[in-house]
């Protein structure tokens, strides 16, 4: 078992290296001279040249990449061009709201989507099934910010049940924290629920046609035991896979959701970084999110081995 885990963990290294190289190249080919940006409008060519030399911008690509990669391995993502603060510090300041939003959404989506998918597969072809599947088409078609505005308009502006803006840190209490995340999590969760529910339904349909399910029915096992003990367990691999892949949707969607609900998280930081063309910060954020995504999918692959002991790498 340990050997397989080590092997799988090692396999992520080339992927991470590629991501790092890609992100670095993006900024290497970035238009505009970072030295000129830092020096400001009134700087003389000599000032710009001095800054360029002090930043080491005159050295070749490979040297700069290796040095940059070495810095990253030490946990240093560089310095923001606009604020002058370390990128890691800026990310740390903003990570709590984003992480909270993603975890709440993930939990909510799984709790909603898996039962929907199981029920739809169990009653395949029925009106309920068709209703659920129509809902998933809507989920795929409703852009996250549209869903966000509709929810905020109804539940915050018209009914005044929940706050429409802002974020309260978890340190200030569980309910104030959660209250602010309900609407954003539902908005962000729509497409994710649709994705997981569809996959669950497809995987369950496959399993429910197997002989051992018929045997379970024949020996008089209850329907809920069949569905949730036998079938769901055997359908788990594709479901867990799509939950992992869907984290990409969650990351991209979080940026927009935060903007709709005025949550001061990484999304806001990303947008500010784009508007100010703060390349080191953009680099750091893209790199961090990609690493998170790679690690989530690594975790998913490791979960496989526990869900399905037949799987070995």
């Amino acid at each position: 078992m340990l050997r397989f885990i080590v092997k799988r963990v090692l396999a992520t290294i080339p992927v991470m290296a590629f991501v790092a190289l890609f992100v670095f190249s993006l900024l290497y080919i970035a238009p505009g001279d970072p030295a000129a940006v830092i020096a400001g409008d009134q700087a003389s060519p000599q000032d710009i040249e001095r800054i360029r030399l002090s930043l080491g911008l005159d050295r070749p690509f490979l040297v700069r990449f290796l040095e940059w990669a070495g810095q990253i391995l030490q946990g240093n993502l560089g310095t923001s061009m606009f604020t002058g603060l370390p990128v890691t510090e800026l990310i740390q300041q903003r990570i709590e709201p984003t992480l909270s939003l993603m975890i709440v959404t993930l939990t909510f989506a799984i709790l909603m989507a898996v039962p929907i998918g199981v029920l739809a597969a169990w009653k395949a072809g029925s009106a309920l099934d068709r209703l659920f599947m129509a809902f998933t088409v809507l989920g795929f078609s409703l852009p996250v910010f549209v869903a966000g505005y509709i929810l905020a308009y109804i539940f915050a502006l018209q009914l005044d049940w929940l706050p429409s803006q802002g974020y309260t840190p978890l340190a200030q209490g569980l309910w104030p924290w959660f209250e602010n995340l309900i609407l954003p999590a539902i908005a962000l969760g729509f497409v994710y629920i649709a994705l997981i529910a569809r996959t669950t339904r497809a995987a369950m349909l496959e399993v429910l046609s197997q002989d051992y399910v018929r045997t379970a029915r024949a020996k008089g096992m209850g329907e809920s035991d069949i569905l949730f003990l036998h079938a769901l367990k055997n359908a788990a691999v594709p479901i867990v896979t799509v939950i992992g892949i869907g984290v990409a949707l969650l990351i991209g969607g979080a940026v927009v959701t935060e903007s709709v609900f005025a949550i001061p998280g990484l999304g806001r930081l990303t947008i500010d970084a784009i508007l100010r063309r703060d390349y080191p910060l953009i680099q750091g954020i893209v790199l961090m999110f990609s690493m998170v995504y790679v690690l989530v999918n690594l975790a998913v692959d490791l979960i496989y081995m526990f869900v399905d002991p037949r799987i070995r790498y």
């Binding site: 947008i271 508007l275 893209v286």
Partner: protein, 303 residues
């Protein structure tokens, strides 16, 4: 059948059948194919309407969508300004109609571009085994960057323009298409009829053209439809967060970005582009689902 049994044992009743039942006209061809599938009909109908709006935007009672009129700003929807005006006095109805152009152009172009590039890379990877490992590792690496972030990073580098948006979104979709095509190639190339073709002297080129390509077409069409839908969403997201088409261009994402700060007092600025955006993506997704069911009956039962 039921008529015969209802008529009892008298065989004579069967002779009247042609009079009772009018002849069924089977619709064939493209029209019949579409009419027998309500999701395709609905999706295609909606999509054609949007395409019509995009092409005919200047003739649909619109005014210049970029014309500023500070004196007439923030008017609520009325019979003069059907969808109201925004904070700069621009007519939202005109902006939404012209916005269809950007969304559809981005959706179709990204679908075409990503499919073509993915098809080429997938064929190469599936056929040239020496390159397969390298190509697939690069594709894995690209897929490990969430597509929206990839597009955001690319857009931050370049000038905001519709062409750049298309390229930035397409790049993230290429690895997914390449993987799909590669998997088809790997299955088909082991089929006995491909062996037979090779044995009877077919060149690699003609095997790819006659056997491999036709087999990739169905899954590729379905995939391209979904890419089109997601590209329209990603474009609106990019524009919404200020990393998409130039702010002056009337695109649905830009209109919503303009209405963002005012949405609690003037929700209509966001409502109309949001509605058109959602309907368009819904149309594309319905079309995709319908095509998938029609082109791959095995998958239709599963999903």
């Amino acid at each position: 059948m039921t008529d015969v049994t209802a008529a009892g044992p008298h065989v004579a009743a069967a002779m009247n059948l042609p009079d009772i039942l009018p002849p069924v006209r089977h619709r064939r061809g493209v029209t019949g194919f579409i009419l027998r599938r309500p999701t395709i009909a609905l999706g295609l109908g909606l999509l054609l309407t949007m395409t019509f709006i995009a092409f005919a935007a200047p003739f649909l009672g619109t005014v210049d969508p970029t014309a500023l009129a500070p004196a007439k700003r923030l008017r609520a929807p009325s019979d003069v300004y059907w969808f109201g005006t925004d904070a700069f006095g621009r007519d939202i109805y005109s902006r939404v109609m012209f916005g269809a152009r950007v969304s559809l152009a981005v959706g179709f172009s990204v679908a075409l571009l990503a499919s073509a590039a993915g098809l080429f890379i997938g064929l190469l990877s599936g056929y040239v085994r020496a390159l397969d490992g390298l190509i697939m590792r690069i594709m894995d690496g690209m897929m490990s960057i969430p597509p929206i972030l990839l597009a955001v990073a690319l857009m931050a580098l370049t000038r905001a323009s519709v062409q750049n948006v298309i390229l930035a979104i397409a790049l993230g979709e290429v690895p997914r298409v390449a993987r799909l095509v590669r998997s088809v190639v790997l299955t088909i190339r082991e089929q006995p009829y491909v062996d037979a073709a090779r044995a009877s002297g077919s060149t690699i080129g003609s095997i790819i053209l006659r056997h491999i390509l036709p087999n990739t077409l169905a899954p590729l069409t379905v995939q391209a439809t979904y890419i089109c839908g997601s590209a329209i969403i990603v474009e609106s997201i990019l524009s919404f967060i200020g990393a998409g088409t130039p702010p002056i261009t009337p695109s649905w994402g830009n209109i919503m970005a303009d209405g963002r700060t005012l949405w609690q007092v003037k929700p209509y600025i966001i409502f109309f582009p949001a509605m058109f955006l959602s309907l368009t993506v819904l149309a594309v997704n319905l079309l995709g689902d319908g095509l998938r069911d029609a082109l791959d009956p095995r998958l239709a039962k599963k999903l």
